[in-house]
C-alpha cells in the first residue's frame, strides 16, 4: 500500500520529506507539495491503514518544533502510488481507497486535474513527443469527456487507436490502475563543514589553522565525489553576536586546499571581522572540475590558481575596484571605459586568431602617422581666455603638473554630445592647442613633454575641452 501526503500550505519541501521519513524510509518526492510513502508493513508500528492516516494527519497539525508541519494535510492510501496522489491532491482530508475500488474513489474528478506528468506527457508540444497534454485535453474535450470515469470507461482499443500508448497509460491513470515503483529520494552530497571554538580567536594565524583543517576535509570530500568548486562561502560567528560572511567566486572550478586557504586568508585580511571569532563554517558549491586539453604549440598560460592568488594580492594592495582589465564602452562619450574582471582568454580559433594578427599589424603599420597621447588623470581644471570662442591663453594647475601659456595654434572645436535621454547627458567641445612653451610656464613636463631643448622652445600640443553644460575648461592631456 502507498500513502500520499499533500499540503498546499507547506512551503518547504525538505520539511515535508522529513515528516514523511518519520513514517517510512521509502519516500518519493513527487512534487514540492506532494510526497508518496511505501507503507507496506507499517501496520506493525501504526496499526491499520486508517490508523496510520489518522496519526499522519494528527501529527501534521502539530507545530514544527514538535515534529509536525504546522498545517493541515490531505492523506490518501491506495494500492498504487498514482491513485493515492490523485486522491490526496483533489480529495480533502483522509481518503482510503480499497484495492479495486479506485474508480469509485476517483471517478468523479474532472479530467483537467489528471496528472499527465506522471506518465511523462508534457504540457506543451515538444519535438519528438507524439502529443502534449494540451492536445490530448482538447481531444477529450471535443469528445465530451469531463471526468476520470468517463475516460476510464472508453474502450481501451479505441483509445489506443486514437491516442496511442500514451492515451492508454492516461486512461489507466484515470482508472487508478497504474503500476510503478517509487522513485526514492537520494540526498545530494553536502559540502559544508563547521567548527565551534572553545575560546574566541582574535588573530589571523590561529584562525588559519582552523580554516586549513576545515578546507582539508572539504577538499578531500570533493575529491571523493570527483567534484570541484567555483564558490566558497565562509561564515564566522563573532563574539559580539554578529556573523561575518564572505563569498569568493572563482573563475575556474578548483579543489586545491592550499590555494583556498591563501585566498581566504587574503580576503580576511582585506575584510577583517569586527570581533573575535567563536565559530567557523565553510561551504563549497560543488561543480564538475575543469577539463582542459592544452595544444601542443600553444604557449602555456599562467596557472589559474596562481593567477587568482596574484589578482587577490593585487586587490589587497590596490582595492578591489582597481584590479581588472579595461574595456572600452561602445559610446561616443569621450574616454568612456569600464573595469572588468581579469580572466584568461579562451582558446581562439584559427581564423579569428589570423584576423586579430592582421588587424594588429595594420594598426602598427598605420601608427607611424599617429601621435601618442598622454592622458592626465584626473584632467587639470583650467582657466582659458578665448576670442570668438577660440582659446588664446591657458592656465591650469594640478598637484603634479601645471600648464600655462599663450595658445599659438588651435584646431577645433570637436563637438560631442549625447545620452540626451538620461539625466547625465554630456556635451563638450574639444580643442587641440599648441601652447608656447618656456621653462617657467610648463612645470613638471620638462623632461617628458617639452621635447627638444636645443634652439627656440617648441610649442607643446595639448588637448583641452570645455564642458558645455557647466562651461568649465579642462586640460585632458598632452600629445607626445
Amino acid at each position: 500500500m502507498f500513502a500520499c501526503i499533500y499540503s498546499q500550505s507547506v512551503s518547504d519541501s525538505v520539511l515535508l520529506q522529513d515528516f514523511a521519513y518519520s513514517f517510512s524510509p521509502l519516500v518519493e518526492e513527487t512534487a514540492a507539495d506532494t510526497v508518496v510513502l511505501d507503507v507496506e508493513g507499517c501496520d506493525l508500528l501504526f496499526g491499520s491503514a486508517y490508523e496510520l492516516s489518522k496519526v499522519m494527519a494528527g501529527r501534521a497539525v502539530k507545530p514544527k518544533q514538535s515534529g509536525g508541519l504546522g498545517c493541515k494535510i490531505n492523506v490518501a492510501i491506495a494500492a498504487n502510488p498514482d491513485a493515492a496522489i490523485h486522491a490526496a491532491r483533489f480529495l480533502e482530508g483522509i481518503t482510503f481507497i480499497s484495492p479495486g475500488e479506485e474508480l469509485t474513489g476517483l471517478g468523479d474528478l474532472p479530467i483537467e486535474v489528471l496528472c499527465f506528468e506522471l506518465v511523462g506527457v508534457a504540457e506543451k508540444k515538444q519535438a519528438g513527443r507524439p502529443q502534449s497534454r494540451e492536445e490530448i485535453l482538447e481531444t477529450l474535450k471535443l469528445w465530451g469527456i469531463r471526468t476520470f470515469r468517463e475516460f476510464a470507461t472508453l474502450p481501451v482499443a479505441g483509445v489506443s487507436e486514437r491516442l496511442g500508448q500514451e492515451g492508454v497509460k492516461l486512461q489507466q491513470l484515470a482508472a487508478g490502475k497504474t503500476d510503478r515503483h517509487l522513485k526514492l529520494i537520494q540526498p545530494a552530497p553536502v559540502f559544508e563543514n563547521s567548527l565551534e571554538l572553545e575560546y574566541p580567536i582574535a588573530e589571523l594565524e590561529p584562525l588559519s589553522f582552523i580554516l586549513a583543517r576545515l578546507l582539508n576535509q572539504l577538499c578531500a570530500s570533493l575529491n571523493t565525489y570527483s567534484l570541484a568548486t567555483n564558490e566558497l562561502r565562509l561564515s564566522l560567528k563573532l563574539g559580539n553576536g554578529a556573523t561575518h560572511e564572505r563569498k569568493l567566486n572563482l573563475p575556474y572550478p578548483m579543489r586545491d586546499h592550499k590555494v583556498f586557504l591563501k585566498l581566504l586568508l587574503l580576503d580576511t585580511e582585506m575584510h577583517p571581522p569586527q570581533a573575535a571569532v567563536n565559530a567557523v563554517a565553510i561551504a563549497f558549491e560543488p561543480v564538475k572540475p575543469r577539463v582542459l586539453q592544452n595544444g601542443l604549440f600553444i604557449p602555456l598560460a599562467p596557472e589559474p590558481e596562481k593567477l587568482e592568488l596574484t589578482l587577490m594580492r593585487l586587490a589587497k594592495l590596490l582595492g578591489q575596484d582597481s584590479v581588472g582589465s579595461l574595456e572600452l564602452v561602445d559610446t561616443n562619450r569621450p574616454d568612456a571605459f569600464r573595469v572588468k574582471r581579469f580572466g584568461l582568454k579562451a582558446r581562439i580559433d584559427g581564423r579569428k586568431r589570423r584576423n586579430e594578427i592582421r588587424n594588429s599589424q595594420s594598426t602598427i603599420r598605420n601608427s607611424k602617422c599617429l601621435l601618442g597621447f598622454r592622458v592626465f588623470r584626473p584632467p587639470l581644471r583650467a582657466i582659458v581666455q578665448a576670442e570668438h570662442g577660440s582659446p588664446t591663453q591657458i592656465s591650469a594647475w594640478g598637484p603634479s603638473r601645471s600648464v600655462y601659456g599663450k595658445v599659438v595654434r588651435v584646431a577645433g572645436p570637436w563637438r560631442t554630445t549625447g545620452d540626451w535621454w538620461r539625466t547625465d547627458a554630456w556635451a563638450r567641445d574639444e580643442w587641440d592647442v599648441a601652447v608656447e612653451s618656456s621653462r617657467s610656464s610648463i612645470s613638471n613636463l620638462r623632461s617628458q613633454d617639452a621635447g627638444s631643448t636645443k634652439g627656440a622652445p617648441r610649442p607643446i600640443l595639448f588637448r583641452i575641452y570645455r564642458e558645455l553644460r557647466s562651461g568649465v575648461w579642462f586640460v585632458e592631456g598632452v600629445y607626445d
Partner: protein, 1105 residues
C-alpha cells in the same frame, strides 16, 4: 543676396534616416532667408513633391536630387568588399537629368523584392555611368564614395581616392563633379576634408560646402537618434556609436556656414553658383497623359465625339425620350468643347477603354464621385447616373479656371475582378507605363508609441501600457487630459523617462514610416512613367507603385484613375450569377424595375441589414422618418447621414420639413431653384457651389475653389480670403445680414464632409440594386454577402439571423453538399438530409415567425453554408474536398481522408466539430438502422483515421463502427458552432435563455417596437455593434440582438463613464431605460446596465471606436 545655399539635405522621406518632413525644411529655409535648397533623399524622390509645393508657396527654389546607393566593384576601389555599398549624392541639373535619375532609381528598385535586405538594393558603377547625363555629382559625406576610400591616411589610399575622383569626372563630365566638404566639428571628418581639398586642388575640382542636413533644427536630432535605433533594432542604451556624435546636421544659417568655411570661401561661393546652374524643378516634370490610339483619319477628339454620340443616343433616346436628349446634346457639346480645349480626350478614351474591357469580361463597373456630373461620362457608360435628368453641376467635375485634372473613380467588384482590371491597365501601357499610387504610412497612434517605448528601453508590459494609452475611440472626452490618461495607466508623466517618451511620441507623429500602396489609384503616362517618377515593386506580386501618393500626384498634375474595390459590387455580381444558376432568371442591374414597392416598404421600416449604405445604425434610425418613396429619396438618404449635414444641423430641419412639421423657407428667394429639391436645406456639395454662384456671382470654377478651400486641406488664410470674397459677392447681390451669415455658415459647415449629389446618386443606385436583390432574391443575395465577407456593417451571424427572420432556410456546412463558397439548393423534403438532421433540429428557431419580403420562390430555395466558413480550413483543402466529391460521393470518413490527402488532422477535427461530417456518417451508418448520428461520432472516427496506422493496417477498418461518446448537448453545439464557424444557424443564443429573461422582465426586440413613447422598459440581448462617433458628443450607441431582431440602445456619456468596462467588454447585456418611439424610430435610452453571464459562446461585436 545670400552667400550660402544648402545643397545636401535629407528629409524624413529617407525613411528612418532623416527626421524632418520637407515642409519643415522649407520653413527653416524660409526663416533663414535662403532662396533655394536641394533635397536629396535616400534612393528616391519620395519627398520631392511636398518639398516642391512648400518651396513654391514660400518662394524658395526647390532643387531635386537623391543619394544613390552604389555597389562598388572590386576593380574600382581596392580593398573594398564585394558587397560594399556607398552613397553618391547627385543633383538634377535639367529634365534629362531628372529622367535619368528616375530611371536609375527604378532600375535599382524593381530589381529586388519590396522588402529586400539593406545593401541589396543598389546600382553598379556602370549603371550609374549609363544614367549620369544631366546630373551633378557630389563626392559625398561620411558614407560617400571618397570617404570610403580615404579611410586610412596613407599614400595608397590617397591614390585610390584620386582614381575614384577621376572616374567620377569621366562619368559626369568636367565641371559636373564637386568636391563636397562637410564640417560637423568632427576630427575624422576634418582630416578627410583636408585630403579632399588636396585632391580637389590636384584635379582642379570645385569645392562645395554642404552640411549634410538630416533635420531642420538641432532639437530634431533626438528623433534622428530614435530612428537610427528603430532602423538598427537596438535601444538607445545599446546603440553606442551608431548614434550621432552631435546635433550639427541641422540646417544652418548662411552666416554660420560662412564662418565655418572662413578658410575656404570658394566652397561657400560655389553653392550659389551651383544652385544657379540647377535649372530643373518639378514644375518642369514633362508629364503627358497617354494618347489613345485611333485609326488613321481620326483624331482623338473626333473619336471621342463619335463614341459619346453613340452612347448618348443609346442612353437618352431609349428611356427618357427626345426632350431630354436635346438638353443632353447641348450639355454634351459644352462638355466636349471644354474637354478638347483642355486636351483631355485621351483621358476620357482611356477610361472608356477600361470600361469596355470590363464590359467584355463581364466585370461590373460603375463610375462614382464627381464624374457622375458629366453627361459625357454618362454617355460613354462610365457612370450610371443621368446628370442632365438630375440637373447635376458639371463644374464640380471639370472647370477651366481650376487648372486641375478631372478625377474619375471606378467602382469594381473587390477581389479577383478588380485585379483583372488593374492587370489589364498594366498590360495595355506596359510595366513601366502604369503604376499604382503610393500610400505613405506614417508614425501614428499605437505603432508610434510601441516603437518609441521599445527604443527607450521600456519592458514589454510598460510598452503595452503606453501604447494602450493611445485612445482609438473616435470620441475623445474633453476631460481626458494626457496627464490623466498616463495617471490612469499607472504612469507618472513627471518621471523623466516617461516625459521623454511623451515628447518623442509627439515628435514622431506623422513622420513617414514606410511606403504602402494606395487602394486603387493608378497613374498612366505617355511613354515611360519611370522617367516621371521612380517606380518600386509593391508587396503584392505583379504590382508596381510610384514613389508619390495620390495627393502628390494631383499636386504635380499627374492624372490618375481610381480603380476601387467595392465589396458590394462583388456581392451584386455574385448574386446575379447565383440567380442565373438557381432561380433561372437573368437580372440586369441597369434595368431593374423602378419604384419597387417591396424595396420601399423595407426601406421605410428600416429593415435594411446587408443593404449598401443604408444598413448602419444611424441610417436605420433616419429611414422611418424620411420614409423613402422614390429613387431621389434614396439619394438624399445616402447623403444625409454624413458628418457634414449632421454637424451643420441640416438633418432635423430637412426631416421636419419633409414631414410637414416645418414650413419650407429659403435663406434667400434666389436660392429656391437650387434648394427646392431638398426643401430649402442644402444637403449636397453641388448645392453649395450653386449657392455661391447665385448669391455671390462666382463662376463654376471659383465655386469649386471655394469648396476646396473649405475642404480637406484647410488653410485659415485661404478660407478667410475666400469668405471675404463670398461676402462681397453676396453684398453686391443684396444679400446681407442674417441671410448672408446663414449662407456662409451652411457652406462652411459641410464643405468638408458632405457628399456630392452625383456621388450620392451613384451610391444610391447600388443601394437600390442591393435592396432589390435582397427583397426578391434573398437566398442569392445572402449567399453573395456571405461569400464576400468581410464587408458592410454586420457580422455574418447577424446577416444569417436577419435572413432567417425573412424566411430563408439555412443549411449547415456539410462535406457531402457544401462547396467552398455558400451556395443555393432546392429544399428536399425527404432523404438522409432530413433524417440525420436530428442534431440540427434547432436550425429553425421555434420563437421565430418569419416574415418574407416577397412571395417565396417555388421550389423553395435554401442557403447552404460553404466550407469557407469552417475556421482553420484552408481553401486548398476545401477545394480538394469539392473536387473529389464531384468524382464520386464520399462513403465514410476513412474514404474522405484517403481521397483528400490535403486534409490535415486539425482540419478534419474542425469539420467534425461543426457537424460537417455527420452526413458521411449517416451514409456509413445506414446499415445501423435507428442509430442517431452526431458530431461526436465523427470526432471519434476522425481521431482514428487521422492517426497513421502504418501501411500494414491501412485497409483495416474498425470492427465496431459505433462510438462510445455521448452526443453534444445544445449549449455544446452552439459553442462548437461559434468556435468553428463564427455563427450558428440554430436558435439564437439569447433565445435559449428566454425563460430566464422573461423572469427578469426583459422584453423581446420585436415587443419593444410596438410600445408607446416614454415607457420604462427592460431589454436584453447580444451586443452586435458598439459605436461612439465623434459627432455624438460622447454618446454611445449599442445594437442589442435577440431571437426576434435588433433593439437600439443609447447610452449617455455619464452612464458610459460609470459602466465603461461592462459596456465595452461584455457580450450580453441587460438594460433598463426609457423607450423613445418617435416616428417609428425606436430606441431605449439606457438608465442602468448589467452584464449577463450566459454560458454560450458568442462572436465578437463589430465595434466602431
Amino acid at each position: 543676396m545670400t552667400e550660402y545655399i544648402e545643397l545636401h539635405a535629407r528629409s524624413a522621406f529617407s525613411f528612418l534616416e532623416g527626421a524632418s518632413v520637407p515642409e519643415e525644411l522649407i520653413a527653416a529655409c524660409h526663416e533663414l532667408q535662403m532662396p533655394a535648397m536641394a533635397l536629396l533623399d535616400r534612393d528616391g524622390v519620395y519627398g520631392a513633391p511636398r518639398f516642391h509645393m512648400a518651396g513654391k508657396k514660400n518662394g524658395i527654389k526647390a532643387h531635386i536630387g537623391a543619394e544613390i546607393s552604389v555597389r562598388i566593384q572590386k576593380a574600382k576601389v581596392k580593398r573594398q568588399k564585394k558587397k560594399d555599398v556607398v552613397s553618391i549624392p547627385v543633383l538634377v541639373r535639367n529634365r534629362i537629368g531628372y529622367q535619368n535619375l528616375c530611371r536609375l532609381i527604378t532600375l535599382m528598385k524593381l530589381r529586388v523584392p519590396k522588402h529586400a535586405k539593406s545593401g541589396e538594393c543598389a546600382v553598379t558603377l556602370d549603371e550609374l555611368a549609363e544614367y549620369a547625363n544631366g546630373l551633378i555629382c557630389l563626392t559625398g559625406g561620411d558614407d560617400g564614395l571618397l570617404a570610403k576610400a580615404i579611410h586610412h591616411r596613407d599614400t595608397e589610399n590617397t591614390e585610390g581616392a584620386q582614381r575614384i575622383a577621376e572616374w567620377l569626372i569621366d562619368v559626369f563630365g568636367k565641371g559636373n563633379v564637386y568636391a563636397e566638404l562637410q564640417r560637423h566639428f568632427n576630427r575624422e571628418g576634418e582630416a578627410r576634408n583636408q585630403m579632399v581639398v588636396d585632391l580637389a586642388q590636384r584635379l582642379k575640382l570645385p569645392l562645395l560646402a554642404t552640411n549634410g542636413v538630416c533635420h531642420a533644427t538641432p532639437a530634431r536630432r533626438e528623433v534622428a537618434d530614435v530612428f537610427t535605433c528603430i532602423r538598427n533594432h537596438v535601444r538607445l542604451e545599446t546603440a553606442g556609436r551608431l548614434l550621432a556624435k552631435n546635433s550639427e546636421t541641422y540646417l544652418k544659417p548662411a552666416k554660420t556656414m560662412v564662418q565655418l568655411f572662413a578658410d575656404l570661401p570658394e566652397a561657400i561661393a560655389n553653392t550659389v553658383e551651383l544652385s544657379s546652374r540647377l535649372e530643373f524643378t518639378l514644375q518642369d516634370l514633362g508629364y503627358e497623359f497617354p494618347k489613345y490610339p485611333v485609326s488613321s483619319g481620326e483624331t482623338m477628339a473626333s473619336f471621342l465625339r463619335k463614341r459619346t454620340d453613340e452612347g448618348a443616343r443609346l442612353r437618352y433616346t431609349g428611356r427618357n425620350g427626345m426632350p431630354t436628349y436635346e438638353r443632353a446634346r447641348q450639355q454634351i457639346e459644352r462638355e466636349l468643347a471644354l474637354i478638347e480645349k483642355l486636351k483631355l480626350e485621351g483621358y476620357f478614351l482611356i477610361v472608356w477603354d477600361i470600361i469596355q474591357f470590363c464590359k467584355q469580361q463581364g466585370i461590373l463597373v460603375q463610375g462614382r464621385g464627381s464624374a457622375a456630373n458629366s453627361a459625357v461620362c454618362y454617355s460613354l457608360g462610365i457612370t450610371a447616373v443621368d446628370p442632365v435628368g438630375m440637373e447635376l453641376l458639371f463644374e464640380r467635375f471639370l472647370s477651366e479656371e481650376r487648372g486641375e485634372w478631372p478625377d474619375i473613380d471606378l467602382d469594381l467588384p473587390s477581389g479577383d475582378q478588380r485585379e483583372r482590371a488593374i492587370q489589364y491597365v498594366y498590360e495595355r501601357y506596359g510595366k513601366l507605363g502604369a503604376a499604382m499610387t503610393a500610400n505613405v504610412i506614417t508614425y501614428r497612434g499605437r505603432s508610434a508609441a510601441r516603437e518609441v517605448g521599445k527604443v527607450l528601453g521600456f519592458d514589454d508590459e510598460t510598452v503595452g501600457r503606453l501604447s494602450g494609452l493611445v485612445h482609438t475611440w473616435e470620441w475623445k472626452d474633453p476631460k481626458d487630459s494626457t496627464a490623466r490618461q498616463f495617471r490612469d495607466a499607472g504612469l507618472d508623466l513627471r518621471e523623466s523617462r516617461i516625459k521623454k517618451f511623451f515628447q518623442l511620441y509627439q515628435a514622431v507623429q506623422d513622420l513617414p514610416r514606410h511606403l504602402g500602396q494606395h487602394s486603387g489609384g493608378m497613374v498612366i503616362c505617355q511613354g515611360q512613367l519611370d522617367s516621371v517618377v521612380p517606380l518600386e515593386p509593391a508587396a503584392m506580386p505583379g504590382r508596381v507603385v510610384v514613389q508619390w501618393d495620390k495627393e502628390d500626384c494631383a499636386d504635380l498634375g499627374i492624372i490618375k484613375v481610381d480603380l476601387l474595390g467595392l465589396g458590394m459590387m462583388a456581392a451584386l455580381e455574385d448574386s446575379i450569377q447565383l440567380i442565373r444558376d438557381s432561380y433561372g432568371e437573368e437580372v440586369d442591374l441597369a434595368h431593374l424595375p423602378q419604384d419597387d414597392p417591396a424595396v420601399y416598404a423595407a426601406l421605410q421600416k428600416a429593415d435594411t441589414i446587408g443593404m449598401f449604405q443604408v444598413e448602419s445604425r444611424a441610417q436605420m434610425s433616419c429611414l422611418p422618418r424620411l420614409g423613402p418613396q422614390k429613387f431621389y429619396d434614396i439619394v438624399v438618404q445616402v447623403a444625409i447621414i454624413r458628418p457634414g449635414p449632421i454637424v451643420g444641423n441640416m438633418v432635423h430641419p430637412y426631416l421636419r420639413r419633409r414631414q410637414g412639421r416645418e414650413p419650407v423657407v429659403y435663406a434667400h428667394p434666389a436660392l429656391e431653384p437650387v434648394l427646392k429639391r431638398t426643401l430649402g436645406v442644402p444637403l449636397f456639395q453641388e448645392q453649395l457651389l450653386r449657392m455661391a454662384m447665385i448669391c455671390a456671382g462666382f463662376s463654376g470654377g471659383e465655386a469649386e475653389e471655394l469648396r476646396r478651400a473649405m475642404g480637406f486641406k484647410r488653410s485659415e488664410a485661404r478660407m478667410r480670403e475666400i469668405e471675404v470674397k463670398l461676402r462681397q459677392g453676396m453684398a453686391r447681390n443684396g444679400i446681407t445680414g442674417r441671410a448672408q451669415d446663414e449662407i456662409v455658415q451652411s457652406i462652411a459647415s459641410f464643405a468638408l464632409y458632405g457628399f456630392p449629389e452625383s456621388h450620392a446618386a451613384s451610391f444610391a443606385l447600388i443601394a437600390y440594386a442591393s435592396a432589390y436583390l435582397k427583397c426578391h432574391y434573398l437566398a442569392a443575395f445572402t449567399a453573395a454577402l456571405l461569400n464576400n465577407q468581410p464587408m458592410g456593417f454586420y457580422q455574418p451571424f447577424t446577416i444569417i439571423k436577419d435572413a432567417q427572420r425573412h424566411a430563408l432556410k439555412v443549411r449547415p456546412v456539410d462535406v457531402t453538399q457544401s462547396d467552398w463558397l455558400c451556395t443555393i439548393e432546392e429544399e428536399r423534403v425527404s432523404g438522409i438530409g432530413c433524417r440525420v438532421s436530428a442534431e440540427n433540429q434547432s436550425c429553425e428557431d421555434p420563437a421565430l415567425h418569419p416574415t418574407p419580403y416577397t412571395q417565396l420562390p417555388t421550389p423553395l430555395l435554401v442557403l447552404r453554408l460553404g466550407l469557407k466558413y469552417v475556421k482553420g480550413l484552408r481553401e486548398e483543402s476545401g477545394q480538394a474536398i469539392v473536387r473529389e466529391r464531384a468524382k464520386r460521393p464520399f462513403v465514410s470518413i476513412d474514404d474522405l481522408q484517403q481521397r483528400v490527402p490535403e486534409l490535415r488532422k486539425d482540419e478534419l477535427r474542425k469539420l467534425a466539430a461543426v457537424g460537417a461530417l455527420n452526413f458521411i456518417q449517416a451514409i456509413d451508418k445506414l446499415k445501423f438502422v435507428g442509430q442517431n448520428v452526431h458530431r461526436r461520432d465523427a470526432l471519434w472516427q476522425v481521431e482514428r483515421v487521422a492517426r497513421a496506422a502504418g501501411a500494414l493496417y491501412e485497409e483495416l477498418h474498425e470492427m465496431d463502427g459505433t462510438s462510445p461518446l455521448l452526443p453534444m448537448t445544445l449549449p455544446e453545439r452552439i459553442d462548437a458552432d461559434f468556435r468553428g464557424t463564427g455563427l450558428t444557424i440554430g436558435r439564437h443564443p439569447v433565445g435559449h435563455h428566454r425563460v430566464e429573461l422573461n423572469k427578469l422582465g426583459a422584453l423581446r426586440a420585436s415587443d419593444v417596437r410596438s410600445m408607446p413613447n416614454g415607457r420604462l422598459v427592460r431589454v436584453a440581448g447580444w451586443v452586435i455593434v458598439r459605436q461612439r462617433p465623434g459627432t455624438a458628443k460622447g454618446f454611445m450607441f449599442l445594437s442589442l440582438e435577440d431571437e426576434t431582431g435588433v433593439a437600439n440602445v443609447i447610452v449617455t456619456p455619464q452612464l458610459f463613464d460609470k459602466n465603461r468596462l461592462v459596456l465595452v467588454d461584455h457580450p450580453f447585456l441587460l438594460i433598463d431605460g426609457t423607450l423613445q418611439n418617435q416616428d417609428n424610430v425606436v430606441s431605449v435610452k439606457a438608465r442602468r446596465v448589467w452584464p449577463l453571464s450566459f454560458k454560450v459562446a458568442a462572436a465578437p461585436s463589430h465595434d466602431f471606436h
